[in-house]
Symmetry: C2
Subunit: 556 residues, 2 copies
């Protein structure tokens, strides 16, 4: 006899159907019933050391897999997870949050329940602010429709949703799930779309030069291929931002670098700020995208298309979806207004730096951050994933020139320091055939270091570079004080204490060379490398920040 469908089983089935293969989370009594369904379904449970880390791991997983799920218990779990979900919301990562909850009888006949604040709507209210939709599944008959609507919203908006599942509803019978093919396409008003396309096309046609800022929403909304086609059709150079880096290949002949005003690459800045028209496709245009107000972007020469609207100069077209706008522009424009179609025309393609030679076997002088990044890029091959935490040192990873078929992940807008290590875990789960290289500041590592143990438990093989500059260097740049000091750990021993192999400590160029050689010859093994650099040795981009006085800056 077939097992009866219950709300918990229904939800687990739907997670499978939308493409979730692994589920991140931490058990707890209010969610045990649903965990049973997760295990019984075709879903792999990835337990993390705490809930915030589960959320960060799910976030990175979602960036690669296209959708993710995090499962936690009530309040102590859900409220601990909240900040990670806020990051996914800000950067448009579709994460399905499932929280257990006390039984529904408690709504009518409340006791003073452990794991609660006494208000059984408190967690829901907190989640409203950081999700696209947040619902309580308190009625088994309605639950299937609420689940289906929430998951469709998650996929359509590419933002987190929250489902609260009381412990007595998990096992309540409900209808069979059947198939699930929700309509998740964003749509446009045809007349608004047409007018927006015509105006943008006219602006581009009349310009002697143009540049495309390729944004992350194109990846989320699965129109990155269309975006590349438009770029090639225009023959326009394109840049990315720290958030969208690798949304298109950095080996494309039209690639002109990573833009972030005076905090990004100088070549990219010249191309963007020198163009007559800047076409931004799917960029969030955050303060960091714009180099903390160092960007010189006259609105009069800007076309900014996002998921569901287009801004041209100072006016806005609502109800224009990104994909339709890109496809419309492709049709409306002649090939190669800025050069030969597919050629590089007036583009100033990003110059690929020659791999720097090892500084002999220098063991006498201290290693610098610039030396480190100049050499470490050689490790990054096809099918690599670079995970860069935020900070004065991690930011340098944005300058690595990424090979074909590789991926760069950074929480470059919400910038929750500590995201890196759990994100490396989540990236490894999503893409087991890839090797993960994580660049994490020492301060950032301390936020979430325990998740290195889950990496060991799962047998993953990332290389984690701890950029060890003895404190919160970003904050030192802004405002020095005793609050920027941290305890100096023996970082290279962390994997070991969690049951993994010993790590390495490098403080000179020679030691770095030997470490790189070790990494090349030890695939399949996780490694942590304590990269000792001077306290105020900061990434190139940060120097732009110092120059402008750091009035508003990245880093927690």
């Amino acid at each position: 006899m077939a097992r009866e469908w219950t709300v918990g089983r229904y939800l687990a089935r739907r997670l499978e159907q939308v493409g979730v293969r692994q589920v991140f989370g931490v058990p707890g009594d209010y969610v045990m019933g649903f965990l049973e369904e997760v295990v019984a379904a075709d879903l792999e449970w990835i337990g993390t050391c705490n809930e915030l880390n589960a959320g960060y791991a799910a976030d990175a997983y979602g960036r690669i897999n296209g959708v993710a799920a995090a499962v936690v218990t009530y309040d102590v779990g859900g409220l601990s997870l909240l900040n990670a979900v806020a990051g996914s919301h800000a950067e448009r990562v579709p994460v399905i949050v499932v929280s257990g909850a006390p039984p529904t009888i408690e709504i009518k006949h409340p006791h003073v329940l452990h794991h609660t604040t006494g208000d059984l709507d408190a967690q829901l209210n907190a989640y409203h602010a950081v999700t696209e939709t947040a619902v309580q599944l308190r009625d088994a008959a309605q639950a299937p429709d609420l689940i289906d609507a929430a998951l469709a919203t998650c996929l359509r908006q590419q933002r987190p949703v929250y489902l609260e599942l009381p412990m007595d509803v998990v096992g309540a019978p409900c209808r069979a799930p059947g198939g699930f093919r929700p309509d998740v396409a964003l749509s446009s008003d045809p007349e608004v779309l047409d007018e927006a396309v015509q105006e943008a096309a006219a602006m581009l046609s009349a310009a002697a030069s143009g540049v495309v800022m390729a944004g992350i929403e194109a990846r989320r909304l699965r129109c990155d291929v269309q975006m590349q086609s438009l770029i090639e059709h225009l023959g326009a150079p394109f840049v990315t931002t720290c958030l969208s880096k690798t949304v298109l290949s950095e080996r494309h002949p039209l690639f002109a670098g990573v833009y972030a005003g005076r905090m990004g690459q100088e070549g990219a800045r010249a191309v963007v700020e020198g163009a007559e028209v800047v076409l931004s496709l799917g960029n969030l245009m955050t303060d960091f995208d714009l180099g903390f107000y160092t960007a010189q972007l006259d609105p009069a020469r800007l076309i900014v298309a996002n998921s569901d609207r287009v801004r041209v100069k100072h006016h806005v077209y609502d109800q224009v979806d990104l994909r339709s706008f890109i496809e419309g522009l492709r049709r409306a424009l002649p090939a190669g207004p800025f050069g030969e179609s597919g050629g590089n025309g007036k583009a100033a393609p990003h110059r690929i730096p020659a791999a720097s030679r090892p500084a002999a076997r220098d063991d006498a002088s201290p290693l610098t951050l610039a030396q480190f990044y100049a050499r470490v890029g050689d490790l990054i091959g096809p099918r690599s994933i670079v995970v860069a935490d935020i900070g004065a040192a991690g930011l340098g990873a944005a300058d690595l020139l990424m090979p074909e078929d590789s991926l760069y992940l950074s929480q470059a807008f919400y910038m929750s320091v500590g995201w890196g290590v759990p994100a490396a875990l989540g990236a490894g789960v999503a893409s087991p055939g890839s090797r993960v290289f994580a660049f994490v500041g020492d301060g950032a590592l301390q936020f979430t270091a325990q998740e290195l143990s889950t990496i060991v438990r799962l047998g993953q093989d990332p290389v984690v570079f701890v950029l060890d500059n003895d404190g919160y260097t970003v904050e030192r740049v802004i405002h020095e004080g005793p609050f920027n000091d941290i305890q100096r750990w023996r970082y290279e021993r962390l994997f070991e204490v969690f049951g993994g192999p010993p790590g390495l400590r490098v403080a000179t160029p020679g030691e770095l060379e030997r470490a790189l050689e070790h990494i090349r010859t030890h695939p399949g093994e996780p490694l942590i490398v304590d990269v000792v650099i001077a306290r105020m040795d900061i990434a190139e981009g940060m120097k732009g920040l110092v120059a402008i006085g750091g009035r508003s800056t990245p880093g927690a």
Copy 2:
């Protein structure tokens, strides 16, 4: 010339005035201006590895010091801290949360700002649910009054408050603070109070036996002395709960044990459930206080007094404050209705177990949890603080008979697993002359292990016992599954990797004896002890849970 008063300086001064001496937190750009004021004031900055841990540390500090403060940056900081504040709210710990925020210009002219979700009220809304009052200090002229009102509320209600301080308001001029002596006493309606006291006194006078459940609110509202006086006046035995343990001395002749229905001590259960009248003073009467529905407490023989109301049988007197009610009862009742005043009358005082002898030098048989707790109690002397995390093993610490002038801390209602290690840090900061003994499950330790490094940085000397039963044993009791497995760490090496001394691993009674000897002979040094026990070796109280089928249970 005197330095001008600004909102930031005003708030720092007020923190000093209400009794905050140390401030816990993590820096971040939106809060740097206020951190400057913290450092300039007579406040010590205690940086933690992440914000959740700052919140847990502040919570424990507040339980001892009477008030605490946690300072964080916007969203990435504030939302990470939220769960710890929810715990303080649930268990009535007065924690003042200060969060930096983007400048007020962003309210009128918003940019897409890093560290935000795009909604500058999102964090405030999340905090409404877990604080007594949450306010944005967006106007320098109003800020002093808002600050004063919030701090008075914090002290009066003994619950957290939230102050959001935009980065441009920190340095804005405001009036001088002057003195600060807010009226924080809760008050009663005299007629309601009188009627409640008369009815309760009549019930107690008519009963042949009675018992007092001494609750944590008596400590928070500073009427524990009055509560003890009433108990002695009645000659009634008293019990505590896991949450209120040590609110009165466990060496008091009328002490009858720790009550938690069938999950607590059998002697306490006999006294409470056998009494004709049960007088509960300041207990939250949570599901755990009541042994997860195993308590046999007929409402018809219950008097439950809380901070601001009294329930007798099935009816409620509002606007009756705990202190006035206790003092009123003391006046209304003749001495010793249940025995000689100050004697133990019909009490069945808690039997102090004879210190068990070391099991020779047994190195052959595995250590049991019962053996561990039977022996470890010898370490706990006057001026000790026991910090017990929640879980199948940590719960056993509730059975330790605490000496005079010692303190037991446990988050026995909100039960956020992982609270223990940061709480040990916070307790050590609040009470530098005490020695802290922390009892933390292996799963619990993994949530927040990095805070051991702050313990090393500050030169604290706690003993941290990791009760290492290889996974989430509480959850195994409820619902076994692969989600209850964790990675086994080399726990005894954690302090070492953070720059401290090596730890110990004990797996036999003989090894335990040598570890105890080491601890006795090494005061002033932090030590971590990996206490290896069998997977399902659980605390006595948990056995009651197993017996009832674990339908709703402690632990995350």
